[in-house]
Symmetry: C2
């Protein structure tokens, strides 16, 4: 049977293979996702982020198990934007050790796509579609770290869960400035540690001071002991119900589609620019002139734009 | 006197104003940087990154003071890719409190440029040029967090200093996978904490296992007590001498120029795409079709490419 049909029937091997194909920017995978795109949009997509050391993996593991108790099918994508590895990454090894993987209602995949030409969002969003088509009720996207790429990734979700941890010190201030606006639900994990109440209070105060129509709930958890997971799923449900019962869900999905269209277009342009030897050599030649201060990069980028994108023959080939 | 000349004379106010202009994508600032570009390339640019909670700000503060003892002029850029704020950001407030700012041989600026259309690299690299033109001997670029954008920023440096901290737990594995390849010099800060020796040993083992011609040194520090800062500057000197005495420095600068040219070209394309109302409205209209599953984003990106970049009249205007 062909790959797309097998995927629609929930075949995990087909899903794994398609994700690898989409990571490798295989045109056949893109064609399959195009053809089966109308089957997407059914899953609830939850993005999970937070600083390193917050225990996100353990939390995701427990969250997935809690959702399984409700008989939901759960897909997990662990995305590490700084890792050049895929599939066989350290994250992947950790995940494969999880007993979750023995559960037929769970599909876990780790992705590390650094080095792919502008392919991070394309791969991740492609994988989300694959899990959606195969019939997952929930898709949990876990990222390592808090940076622009992680923010971009979790923003593609319907709900963003921000995992905090006691003891971040001064850095919590800087983190907060960046994350407050993207978190829909907050949890302070490792709450058996000193300072957990203070961290929760600090987050509550920041949210009291600045929030929109939706005031994100903040709970505590000790994921390793499975404490606080039920309250967390209830908070996630509350956010989902709020989104679904208003125009917020469709608004968010339209906005996310805009970002994806722009990203796909940029990726296509970059591929065109850097996908042929002549262009690559020409850019290196121009870069040498910049490094030797013969020419400045600003005027050079105009040259590149004219030569490679607009082109002498009236535009690049599409 | 005109802004560019004042900058070349080391005028801090001119520098501050130009950085704001470049953040706002002011064409006049770009023109000034083009005109004075030949004065760049003199400063040693050091990128500093590491996980939140590693105490990077304090370390940068002490490092700058140590370099001042050697009579070097020091510029500091604190970049927070997740923060929409600039100048008046929380990071900025923290920095302005530093007594370093009273030192005439120091220029400190914080930048948070999220929300600017693809402008993160453009702003940061522009600010580096501004500090270089004004005559700084060292430019320290500090980033918050470890993600793809932070990696992109510090990669623009001549040397990358990776600040680690004891007690990251399992996440150190995931971090390591992403950072080992970009760090030129490592320091374990907060080394008075439990597990500091273990963290250092783990890093040493990773580096023993996998390094190029240059084997990054690893030292310990307690920045808050000013301990280990001298050893750290010696390690940074060793890396600089290695780079300068080989073809590595020019190679790295050519590579960085390639990345900058590509980034500037992409930014220009994005600006062209999203800089006019017609295009923005059209993308929103197409995004609605994606969100309602009428059309898929892959074929839409081809439509956008044809309509907006290649264009009916033979290409976009440059």
């Amino acid at each position: 049977m062909e790959l797309g049909k097998r995927l629609l029937n929930g075949d995990k091997r087909a899903a794994a293979r398609l994700i690898t194909m989409i990571e490798n920017d295989d045109p056949e995978a893109v064609a399959i996702l195009s053809a089966y795109f109308s089957y997407t949009g059914r899953a609830r997509v939850i993005g999970i982020t937070g600083p390193p050391g917050a225990g996100k993996s353990t939390l995701v593991d427990k969250l997935a198990k809690q959702l399984r108790k409700q008989n939901a099918k759960v897909g997990v994508l662990a995305v590490d934007p700084t890792s050049p590895f895929s599939g066989g990454s350290i994250l992947g090894d950790r995940i494969r050790m999880s007993d979750l993987n023995l559960d037929p209602g769970v599909f876990i995949r780790s992705m590390g796509t650094r080095g792919h030409l502008g392919g991070l969002s394309k791969s991740t969003l492609g994988a989300v579609k694959i899990l959606d088509i195969m019939g997952m009720d929930y898709i949990l996207i876990e990222t390592v770290g808090v940076g622009q790429s992680e923010v971009d990734i979790v923003k593609a979700a319907d709900s963003v869960l921000m995992v905090m941890v006691p003891g971040l010190g001064d850095d919590i201030q800087a983190l907060k400035a960046g994350i407050m606006e993207i978190g829909d639900v907050f949890v302070v994990n490792k709450s058996d540690r000193d300072g957990a109440d203070r961290t929760k209070t600090e987050i509550e105060m920041m949210l009291d001071f600045d929030h929109g129509e939706w005031r994100p709930p903040v709970s505590q958890a000790v994921a390793v002991n499975n404490t606080g997971i039920e309250e967390l799923t209830e908070n996630l449900d509350r956010h989902w119900n709020y989104m679904e019962s208003s125009s917020k869900l469709i608004e968010k999905r339209i906005h996310n589609s805009e970002l994806e269209i722009i990203d796909l277009t940029q990726t296509a342009i970059l591929k065109e620019m850097m996908g042929n030897d002549d262009n690559r050599n020409r850019i290196r030649e121009l870069a040498q002139k910049v490094a030797s201060r013969e020419r400045d990069p600003y005027s050079i980028s105009q040259t590149v734009l004219k030569e490679m994108i607009v082109g002498a023959e009236g535009g690049m080939e599409v």
